[in-house]
Symmetry: C2
Subunit: 210 residues, 2 copies
DNA sequence: ATGCGAAAGTTAACACTGTCAACATCGAGA
DNA sequence: TCTCGATGTTGACAGTGTTAACTTTCGCAT
């Protein structure tokens, strides 16, 4: 049970709710989730959260938003730590997969249909764009090497970007839902699969350095 | 409301429940779904379905299973209609994406965490394997062309298979959740992205015929 | 044909959920 | 100091999945 309340007003109830709710999602997933449970754990009445969130969905959006921000940090670190283009692309992808593996329930929520599609949550959409930024930068660099004359906004460019986004998300999903049953270490398989998708035999050593 | 009941026993209540539940999932998704609603629509008491399903989850598993069977048919048709390997691979992928686009809510359920991970539903797992069979056949053919000497069970082979599976699933997800905002026709973009992933410039015309 | 046990369907109830309206309390600024 | 908006509470409502106990019907052995 939560600690006794010291004052009538909490101080930062909104932050506390997001924090506790995130823990609960991580522990039990959406199935065992309940607004009343978090309220109790924070030590506040069942309906207090309606002063900070219009409804459950809005709280979920806030949780997902923080998830994308955390993912952004991991991606940026991986991006900054490598200068070899291929290796950097793989490592950003692996950071993505590691995040999904370590926070499966949170990852599921981040792509849940009830909030993912909703244009209403602009902050969430921004955070998501931010999280895919480094993957997009790598895609653009690879595309420029492959098709130096292609226009940046071409269909070719767009499909290359989507390709990488879809691949990591697909790998993360299959992994989380337990649909990849491999005899080898999962991490090794993931790395192999990512590099498999990045075969650029025509890249020289110097071209790979960025 | 459902039509009046003629007999005490329904005859094929299990089938009727799956059918009506599938329609409801298609129309409203998991959010608006309710066991009581389907029971009412079938014209039976709220708890009648517990004689055929242990719980809601088991009903979901049955719905998902039928979804994978329908998807299998579409995939097989696409597979049988093409002899060019690249084209066949693309068309099987497009059949997959079309199915997801036409049945977004059903598709989401088919990959829902509550049932996807559960080893308990062996029929569901079989149906899923069946649905990915044709994609796997294409992957194997492509791998044999690329690495004729690789062993069928190698890590290389496995990663190639997973690669294609992850890609179509990732594309379907991003598409369904509205995360692909493109100025071009979605279908065209999807086809372009799929073929982008299949670049085998070293394949001769005759090699592509299977 | 008959009777009986299992299969299939019903009724009533339970604990739990998200949400709302009305009320209580606190804090900051006039 | 007064006041009003922001914040938190109480009580309630409709709806949910699920269980236990009961009733009806069907299929089968005698």
């Amino acid at each position: 049970m939560g600690r006794a309340k010291l004052t009538y007003h909490h101080g930062d109830l909104k932050g506390a709710l997001i924090s506790v709710a995130t823990e609960m999602i991580a522990a039990e997933g959406q199935a065992g989730f309940s607004l009343r449970k978090i309220a109790q754990q924070v030590g506040v009445s069942q309906t207090a959260l309606y002063r900070h969130f219009a409804n459950k969905e809005e709280l979920f959006a806030a949780i997902a938003e923080q998830g994308f921000l955390r993912l952004s940090e991991k991606s940026q670190q991986a991006f900054d730590n490598h200068s070899d283009l291929i290796e950097r692309t793989i490592e950003v992808g692996m950071a993505y997969l590691d995040f999904a593996a370590e926070n499966p329930n949170l990852y599921r929520l981040m792509f849940d249909s009830s909030i993912a599609d909703n244009q209403r949550y602009t902050a969430l959409a921004d955070a998501r764009r931010q999280a895919f930024k480094y993957s997009a930068l790598n895609s653009a660099a690879l595309r420029r090497l492959r098709d130096p004359d292609a226009e940046p906004d071409s269909l070719q460019a767009e499909s290359t970007k989507i390709l990488s986004q879809a691949l990591v998300h697909g790998l993360a999903s299959l992994m989380i839902e337990g649909m990849i049953h491999s005899r080898v270490e999962r991490k090794e398989l993931m790395r192999k699969t990512l590099s498999e998708s990045l075969r650029f035999p025509w890249l020289t050593e110097s071209e790979r350095q960025v």
